[in-house]
């Protein structure tokens, strides 16, 4: 298993490991991601409807899939394995607030963490396996183990795997890897590299 590409988003900065792709003075996540969305001329109006955690995952995935020859992989050969510690707590709270008046259907759909994989799947036409884990802390071993299982037991050739966690507009973190089953890539997909590759 090898890492083809990776992406980090935190503190109003987007990097792909080798370089900082985008940096903003606006620390507020939604504003900063919108700034990036516009600067990249991305055209996906549904982006505006997503909650903050989905936007975070969506943008990180956009960076990962940039330059990837998507046609090399069938839709069913790409899997997603995500994890975080907050699940969708921030949106759960917003939804709870909305129920005091008339509950918001648009918020309700974001009260399950796997919705972010759905958004990425729709945009990138991914139809492979997908799992979302909630664990107390960043768990490289879990991500590595699950990726290995998916490669061993399915026809998956490519996995989008990582951590996407949103606590507040100034406290958020995404660390995503694009991992190939092949032995060619930037780095081997090891527990040490999952932990130690940082921006």
């Amino acid at each position: 298993m090898h890492i083809l590409k990776y992406c980090f988003v935190s503190d109003a900065e987007i990097s792909d490991g080798s370089k900082i792709l985008f940096k903003s003075n606006d620390k507020d996540l939604k504003s900063f991601l919108k700034e990036f969305y516009k600067s990249e001329k991305l055209e996906y109006p549904k982006f505006y409807k997503m909650d903050a955690q989905c936007k975070l995952a969506f943008i990180a995935a956009e960076v990962l899939f940039r330059d990837v020859v998507r046609e090399q992989y069938k839709n069913e050969e790409i899997a997603m394995i995500f994890a975080n510690s907050e699940s969708t707590l921030a949106t759960d709270m917003s939804y709870w607030e909305s129920t005091k008046d008339i509950a918001s259907p648009a918020l309700f759909v974001y009260t399950l963490p796997n919705i972010l994989m759905g958004e990425i799947a729709i945009k990138n036409k991914i139809k492979g396996e997908n799992y979302f884990f909630v664990s107390e802390n960043f768990d490289a071993q879990l991500l590595h183990q699950q990726t290995e299982i998916v490669f061993q037991n399915t026809t998956t050739k490519l996995v989008v795997v990582g951590w996407v966690n949103y606590e507040s507009e100034t406290n958020y973190f995404a660390k995503l890897f694009l991992v190939s089953k092949s032995e060619i890539g930037l780095f081997p997909f090891t527990i040490d590299n999952i932990n130690n590759l940082n921006k």
């Binding site: 919108k34 505006y48 008339i102 918001s104």
Partner: protein, 83 residues
């Protein structure tokens, strides 16, 4: 009627997060769903909430909803007749 349609355009953009759109870009007789504005099923639910919260109108019949939410003009007509 025209002012109600203008009001609905602003509410639509705000409620449905159509951040890339300006009120002028939405035609009063443009289809809201399908090939028109491209709204989806969640948007339809949000429109039902909007009607109830902002105009005190409850829409419970799906067939009625289809008719009411066809265009901004049909929404405005229904609000005028029922509020």
């Amino acid at each position: 009627m025209d002012s109600l349609i203008e009001e609905l355009k602003i509410k639509l953009i705000e409620q449905l997060n159509l951040e890339d759109m300006e009120p002028d870009e939405i035609e009063a007789d443009q289809a809201l769903f399908g090939d028109g504005l491209g709204l989806d099923s969640i948007d339809a639910l949000e429109l039902i909430v909007l009607m109830e919260r902002d105009y005190g109108i409850k829409i419970t019949d799906p067939n009625k909803g289809r008719e009411v939410f066809a265009t901004l003009t049909s929404m405005a007509e229904y609000i005028k007749a029922n509020s």
